[in-house]
Amino acid sequence: MIEVLGVKKRYRKKQVIEDVSFTAQKGEITCLIGLNGTGKSTILKGIMGLTPFDKGTVLVDGKPIDLNRVAFVPDHSTFPIHFTIEQCEAFMRDFYPTFDPNLFARLVDEFKLFPEDKLNELSKGTLAKVNLALGIAQDPDYLLLDEPFSGIDVFSKEQIVELFSSDIMEDRGVLITTHEIEDIEYLVDKAVMLNRGRIVREFDVEDVRFIHGKSIVDVMREEYGA
């Protein structure tokens, strides 16, 4: 379980994260939901130590984060754009001990990627798939995904959504931020709603669906008044 406990973050004069605490379970998909600028990406980067929190703690299964067990997939490529997919894979094999080349090969095959393609020649959707493949191939217990559907075409979205319900993602904990909630609504187990850097609601999606007959989007409407 990922435990985020009382984290705070300030950018210059703006408090972007205000005492946020939540958990994300292994084997479940937890979705961080919020309007633009509510601090979703900051929380993911903070968990990974890329933008350290000012206060608070992050524990993974009761211990400080181990980067061998948690992978982060940002909404953009982290490799130089002149790299080919093969070169990205070579780098990951060299420096990420848990990287599984067979799993990567399977994902490349499923996403119909061409290893010799350069990153700067890829569409946004294909680039998102490359990022996801590189992240999942680290074979992590927990996967943090920042806006994986942002600006990508409907077919790429479908492929990624399919992946979430495949055996590849089984037993992994997923913490995801997305605007396109309707695409993955039926996959999400838990939703954490943020507004102005605070958690405004945290709920079990199935409970809300079956007991109250509401979708995540319905709850968003209530909270954000959209």
């Binding site: 890329l50 933008t51 350290p52 980067l67 940002p74 953009h76 130089p80 060299d94 420096f95």
Partner: protein, 268 residues
């Protein structure tokens, strides 16, 4: 092992610009040598025609020329700039490669070590290439003037010893060479510390670069001022000990700051 892999990676990335720099340096110097040989020969012939020439050429005349000094200045400036760029390029654009480096499960100081080692390889490589180029230029210099029966005086070593920049690059003793290398490492360490501090503070304040400069500047100045204060109050061996302690202190402080910011504060 991972440090070597990272070092190999960094070396691969710097190879192209480095080769361009080395080529520029060598081509500039040999072009200047050609111009120098040609003009000096003409001038000597002119003097010979008008009377008995009483002036003798030295290799120092050549290495004291503006194009030669400029070529070395450009190389040194390029090294200094690359010490910044080796970090800043990884923060460039949205494809921030720094994110990939920081997400590696290995210790972050490996990245620091690899970049520092790359810089030192570049510096030592430059010194070696320049040494070989200088030797070749000296051979060409003496060979040409001998063939023209123009008198040349002084040895290669003398020319280096009396030249400001070259005597720093190639000091007479090995101990001095080591001291100069330590000072070069120190400069690179402070540039690294500056970048890491600035990249850690930019989310907190617009003044991050100035703040970083102030903190590091104070750190550099305090031992210097202490030295000047104590200079006339201590014996020579005590002063030497003070300098040694100062160097160790500077180096430890720079590494400690860089480590702290790289592992705990850096933001991408």
């Amino acid at each position: 092992m991972n440090l070597l892999k990272l070092l190999g990676w960094e070396v691969e990335r710097m190879t192209k610009p480095y080769l361009i720099l080395i080529t520029l340096l060598v081509v500039t110097q040999f072009t200047w040598l050609g111009v120098f040989l040609w003009s000096e020969t003409n001038m000597y012939e002119e003097i010979r025609r008008t009377g008995t020439p009483d002036y003798v050429l030295t290799f120092g005349n050549y290495i004291g020329g503006v194009p030669f000094i400029l070529s070395i200045g450009v190389a040194v400036a390029a090294m200094l700039l690359y010490s910044f760029w080796i970090w800043y390029r990884d923060f460039q654009g949205r494809g921030t490669f720094m994110m990939r480096l920081l997400l590696m499960p290995q210790q972050r100081m490996l990245v620091f070590g690899a970049k520092l080692a790359t810089m030192m390889l570049m510096v030592l490589g430059l010194l070696s290439v320049q040494w070989i180029a200088l030797k070749l230029q000296y051979i060409a210099f003496t060979g040409w003037f001998d063939s023209q029966m123009i008198p040349v005086s002084g040895t290669f070593e003398q020319a280096i010893r009396f030249d400001g920049a070259l005597s720093v690059m190639y000091p007479a003793s090995f101990v001095n060479f080591l001291i100069h290398q330590v000072l070069i490492v120190l400069v690179i360490l402070y540039i690294f510390a500056f970048v890491l501090m600035e990249r850690s503070l930019w989310q907190r304040t617009l003044w991050a670069p100035i703040l970083a400069m102030l903190i590091l500047g104070t750190l550099i100045l305090v031992p210097v001022l202490t030295f000047y204060f104590l200079e006339n109050r201590l014996f020579m061996d005590e002063l030497m000990l003070l300098i040694l302690l100062g160097l160790i202190g500077w180096m430890t402080a720079a590494i400690w700051i860089a480590r702290r910011y790289l592992t705990k504060k850096l933001s991408v």
